[in-house]
């Protein structure tokens, strides 16, 4: 089967990629490591937003709240317990998952755009509360003195490996989640909510799991991101530009595909470097450019660029599509028909309708 060959190729590329990431700190300089860490954490966040918007039908405009909460959780725990920041890293996703579980109870009463802005308002409230809390540094923010407990030679490589691990986990974790019963339920809900509820899919429960997972992922990525900068303030941690970046990356790459955010992150950072470093434009113009690209994508390529690239490359890559059951009567035409069914971009496929 060609599907198997493509699957092997994807796994081989993935294995080589993991090896390259593990070896990278010995090969590339600190600047390149920092740049790649940032890109990989951004990929993880975009993948979480993609899980919500592309699979669970939840467009969250307040996802930055978990980025910020993760960062503050890490800073607060590390400073209070006087331990190196990496030891308390698991607390960040746990706190974010707990907050998301509570928030979901009332935010899920809102639908579509109402949910989008409801989560945004929640994020603003948390940001304002943190700005008013002197123990968390108020509006000025706090530094991370406990970073000195880590050997400075290992700080950058450790951040790099953590970022790489989070990025890889975000892609394959989402893959595993979507291949599971929960994922099948989510996609059924996305494609037809009424029909899904009719065959007994628990719409609320599946969305709840996706929301909690996405919050934990964003919290983890946010915590590592601000460990690298050694400083956090409400204006940076709860910046709506986090969700702007997640959204633009997912839309350009391809919403509702696992490969889309990877492609989107590459385009996003390539454009950023090209516009700000090569042409020397300010961050404002770069965001204008990205916004225009996103608008063009929504108007002319609503599925993003990944379907076009996949068409060139061929194969299934990280498709979470399932094989339909084999036809009962095997005739000469049946294998061809089955093949046509599996290579169709629609059906149970990951491609957004």
């Amino acid at each position: 089967m060609t599907r198997d060959r493509h699957a092997y190729r994807a796994w081989a590329i993935a294995a080589l990629g993991v090896l390259a990431l593990a070896a990278a700190p010995w090969v590339i300089g600190e600047g390149a490591q920092r740049f790649l860490s940032e890109a990989m954490l951004m990929l993880a966040m975009a993948q979480m937003w993609n899980l919500l918007a592309g699979y669970a039908g939840l467009v969250s405009m307040g996802q930055q709240v978990f980025v910020g909460l993760g960062a503050y959780c890490l800073f607060f725990a590390s400073i209070s317990l006087k331990v190196a920041p990496f030891w308390v890293l698991p607390l960040a996703p746990l706190l974010c998952a707990a907050v998301a579980a509570i928030v979901a109870l009332f935010m899920f009463r809102l639908r579509e755009a109402y949910f989008a802005i409801g989560t945004w308002v929640f994020s603003e409230v948390v940001s304002l509360l943190v700005s008013k809390t002197e123990r968390l540094g108020g509006e000025r923010g706090i530094g991370l003195p406990t970073a000195r407990l880590v050997d400075p030679r290992w700080l950058e490589p450790l951040t790099f490996w953590l970022s790489a691990a989070i990025a890889v986990a975000s892609v394959f974790g989402t893959y595993a989640l979507l291949r599971s019963r929960v994922g099948l339920g989510l996609m059924t809900v996305r494609d037809n909510e009424v029909a899904a509820a009719g065959i007994g899919v628990d719409v609320w429960r599946n969305r709840f799991i996706a929301f909690v997972v996405a919050a934990a992922g964003c919290g983890l990525a946010g915590a590592v991101n601000f460990t690298a900068t050694l400083y956090v303030a409400p204006g940076f941690a709860f910046d709506p530009n986090w969700v702007v970046a997640m959204m633009i990356i997912v839309i350009i790459g391809g919403i509702g595909t696992l490969e889309g955010p990877i492609l989107g992150v590459i385009i996003y950072f390539a454009l950023r470097e090209a516009l700000t470093v090569v042409f020397g434009l300010s961050a404002g113009w770069y965001l204008i450019g990205l916004g225009l690209v996103a608008i063009a994508a929504i108007l002319f390529e609503p599925d993003g660029l990944w379907p076009l690239v996949r068409g060139r490359l061929g194969g299934d890559w990280l498709s979470v599509r399932r094989e339909p059951p084999a036809p009962l009567r095997m005739t000469a035409a049946a294998p061809a028909a089955a093949d046509a069914a599996t290579s169709s971009p629609r059906g149970l496929g990951a491609t957004r309708e």
């Binding site: 308002v121 603003e124 409230v125 304002l128 702007v244 959204m247 113009w285 204008i288 996103a294 309708e353």
Partner: protein, 288 residues
């Protein structure tokens, strides 16, 4: 006495918030789309006002309301005709949300590049300081004028939608986009006019808000959230619901600021979250 004054000022301020929200309520009611660039256009109209003042410095900002509203109408008409009408008929409800979010990012950063990130303010001269003493209370003349203008605009909008042929067409389009086509109505053109009207109302609110408080290109987010909260809290079926929602938020914000001077819009946001928690069933019934 200070509390009575605070609440009266909150009501006056809230009328302005209602005006921020009513344009958004119109869009949501007619085309089931939340325009996420609503806040950016509110701020943009204030910047247009600042630019016009630069050209004719002897003119009072209130005299500029009409020209700015006209410019905003054209912008809204164009935004709808060129961009949003292309996605509004898609079955995917997120296309329009994401598109307007993209527009918001572009407009916000264009304003940063053109006008800079410094806080701006529209000067209203002596009118801004004038106050009237009623029974021992000091009430600003300008806030009173603003509330009167808001009420006048609300009434005009209500009459436009319920008593005129245009209003009938808008309401019919909101109810059955496909059926009105049979009657010779082009829904796209109705949408263009409605979006123009929405941003014209938003521009008046944006100018008045710029007289009362300073703004930066980044103020759009806060304006959008307030406008949206007005729509959701006031989703009672009429535009007067939006007015009530605005007044509730205005009072909450000013009372909050009295208790806690650096709270910003925190208490308005908290009130909204509590409202969502207590009355979720009323939140989805937003009709023109």
């Amino acid at each position: 006495m200070i509390w009575v004054e605070t609440i009266i000022n909150g009501v006056l301020y809230g009328g302005l918030y209602g005006l921020l929200g009513v344009g958004l309520a119109l869009i949501v009611g007619v085309m089931r789309v939340v325009n996420l660039s609503h806040g950016e256009f509110i701020v943009l109209s204030a910047f247009i006002g600042v630019s016009l003042i630069g050209v004719v410095p002897w003119l009072h900002p209130l005299a500029l309301l009409l020209p700015v509203a006209a410019i905003a109408f054209v912008l809204g008409f164009g935004l709808q005709a060129v961009l949003i009408n292309r996605v509004v008929t898609r079955p995917d409800p997120f296309a329009a949300i994401l598109l307007t979010f993209g527009v918001a990012v572009v407009v916000r950063n264009l304003m940063v590049e053109v006008y800079g990130a410094d806080p701006r303010h529209l000067q209203a001269g002596q009118l801004a300081q004038a106050s009237a003493g009623i029974g021992g209370l000091h009430i600003g003349v300008l806030p009173l004028l603003i509330l009167a203008l808001s009420v006048a605009l609300f009434t005009a909008l209500q009459l436009l939608l319920t008593r005129t042929r245009f209003g009938r067409i808008v309401r019919a389009t909101a109810d059955h986009r496909d059926v009105v086509r049979l009657m010779g109505v082009n829904p796209g053109r109705v949408y263009n006019l409605v979006m123009g009207l929405s941003l014209a109302l938003a521009s008046v609110a944006g100018m008045l808000l710029a007289i009362r408080a300073s703004f930066t290109p980044y103020s759009g987010v806060e304006r959008l959230l307030i406008a949206f909260e007005v729509v959701v809290l006031g989703g009672l079926g009429t535009f007067w619901g939006a007015m009530l929602g605005g007044i509730t938020l205005g009072v909450a914000e000013l009372v909050g600021l009295r208790l806690d001077p650096n709270a910003g819009p925190l208490y308005a946001h908290l009130l909204f979250l509590v409202g969502v928690l207590l009355r979720p069933s009323g939140l989805f019934r937003v009709r023109a």
